[in-house]
């Protein structure tokens, strides 16, 4: 999957905005939005929030987790724990990039947040590589990956799945007969 497609999915997440215009409720195919009143916070999907922001029609309120203290705590937890800690948001990387690139003036301490998120990302990716290696090494058949985000999976997906496929074929060399009967039942 292309990272921009993962970002596309992240754009469906809701954020709070404070509009500077008024508009009745809109009935989109995907659900109702609004009504919009100047100065009153309202939930909208990120794709719409960014569009309004670019046209200077609103101010975006950063999501709760996008906060230096909270992210620092998460970074510590991530570094301390061997397993994956819960991610700040299932789309933390994408939302950080989108909001900081297009609405950094609405987000306090934007630079610190960028660094913290990158630190969390790097720690998690290092863990991901470690677990991929042990999955291959132990020749495991199943892994539970509850806290992994789609963007994280996506960076390693093709490589890991291709490698597992190669390994599967090299392993079926050892039992050629059973490999053939398995192919036959497709």
């Amino acid at each position: 999957m292309d990272p921009s497609e993962v970002e596309f999915l992240a754009e469906k997440e809701f954020v709070k905005i404070i509009p500077n215009f008024s508009l009745d409720k809109i009935y989109l195919i995907g659900g109702d939005l609004g009504p919009f009143n100047p100065g009153l916070p309202v939930d909208v999907p990120v794709w719409l929030a960014l569009n309004l922001k670019q046209r200077q029609k609103c101010r975006i309120l950063p999501p709760e987790w996008m906060d230096v203290e909270k992210l620092e705590a998460m970074r510590e937890l991530e570094r301390r724990e061997e397993a994956f800690a819960p991610a700040p948001s299932p789309y933390y990387m994408e939302l950080t990039k989108l909001l900081l690139n297009h609405a950094s003036d609405n987000i306090p301490k934007a630079d610190e947040i960028r660094t913290l998120v990158k630190d969390i990302w790097d720690t998690r990716i290092a863990k991901l590589r470690l677990s991929a290696d042990s999955f291959i090494r132990q020749q495991e058949a199943h892994a539970q990956l509850d806290n992994l985000t789609l963007m994280e999976i996506n960076t390693i997906r093709q490589f890991l799945l291709d490698s597992l496929n190669c390994m599967y074929k090299l392993r079926s060399n050892r039992q050629p007969a059973s490999a053939k009967s398995r192919l036959a039942d497709y």
């Binding site: 292309d2 990272p3 921009s4 970002e7 990039k97 690139n101 990716i125 590589r129 991929a132 290696d133 291959i136 090494r137 020749q139 963007m151 996506n154 960076t155 390693i156 997906r157 093709q158 490589f159 291709d162 490698s163 496929n165 190669c166 390994m167 074929k169 090299l170 392993r171 079926s172 060399n173 050892r174 050629p176 490999a179 192919l183």
Partner: protein, 211 residues
């Protein structure tokens, strides 16, 4: 975004080959040391070192993999295929000790592919060969992964030069994952670029114009 105009067929990797895979076609040209176990009448022209019309029984020569597979029969002895040395016990011990030190490109470059194909020929060592192939792959996985993700922040060209063809394909898919992410992060993903087909077309036109 994925802009392949067609899907190259991937190699079969194991004992099965993929008919339309370019890698598997190249692999089938690999030469194997064989010994003829009967007379091959009127094929003497294939054996440059002698003038006789036939290839005599017991001649040692090299056949490409496709021919060896075609002529080999388990019941009737037509030819026997010798193991290339990289699959013999001596090398297997080296691989078991530390698979990462071996230059699989030089030893291969179809180390896994040819090794799997060798299992078509009866040999008491086959189970050990199959086991070594798998263990070598597993043992080298971490290096291939880390270097494809630039984890060492170093020049990877030396390491890549030592990868077997299969590992190189994996290395590339690892790099694609990383590059895709990095260019997304830098915001390059949102810029539209001309497709490779169009670029090639322009180049060709330019060449045509030149006298």
């Amino acid at each position: 975004m994925d802009t392949h105009s067609y899907f190259p067929v991937t190699p079969g990797v194991g004992m099965e080959e993929n008919f339309l895979s370019l890698d598997d076609i190249l692999l089938s040209q690999e030469r194997l040391p064989v010994r003829t176990e009967c007379v091959f009448p009127r094929l003497g022209f294939l054996e440059k070192s002698s003038d006789s019309q036939d290839i005599a029984e017991g001649t040692k020569m090299e056949f490409p993999l496709w021919l060896s597979k075609g002529l080999y029969e388990k019941k009737r002895k037509v030819l026997s295929v010798e193991l290339p040395k990289v699959y013999k016990e001596g090398w297997r011990t080296v691989f078991t000790a530390d698979p990462n030190v071996v230059d699989l490109h030089k030893m291969g470059p179809y180390y896994y592919g040819l090794g799997s194909q060798m299992l078509h020929f009866d040999n008491p060592e086959n189970p050990d060969i199959a086991k070594t192939l798998l263990q070598t792959f597993i043992g080298r996985f971490r290096r291939t992964m880390d270097s494809s993700q630039n984890a060492y922040n170093e020049d990877t060209s030396v390491l890549v030069g030592r990868l077997d063809c299969l590992e190189k394909v994996l290395f590339r898919s690892g790099q694609n994952g990383l590059n895709g992410f990095q260019s997304w992060e830098k915001g390059q993903a949102s810029q539209l670029t001309a497709s490779g087909l169009v670029l090639n077309y322009r180049k060709r036109k330019l060449v045509d114009v030149q006298p």
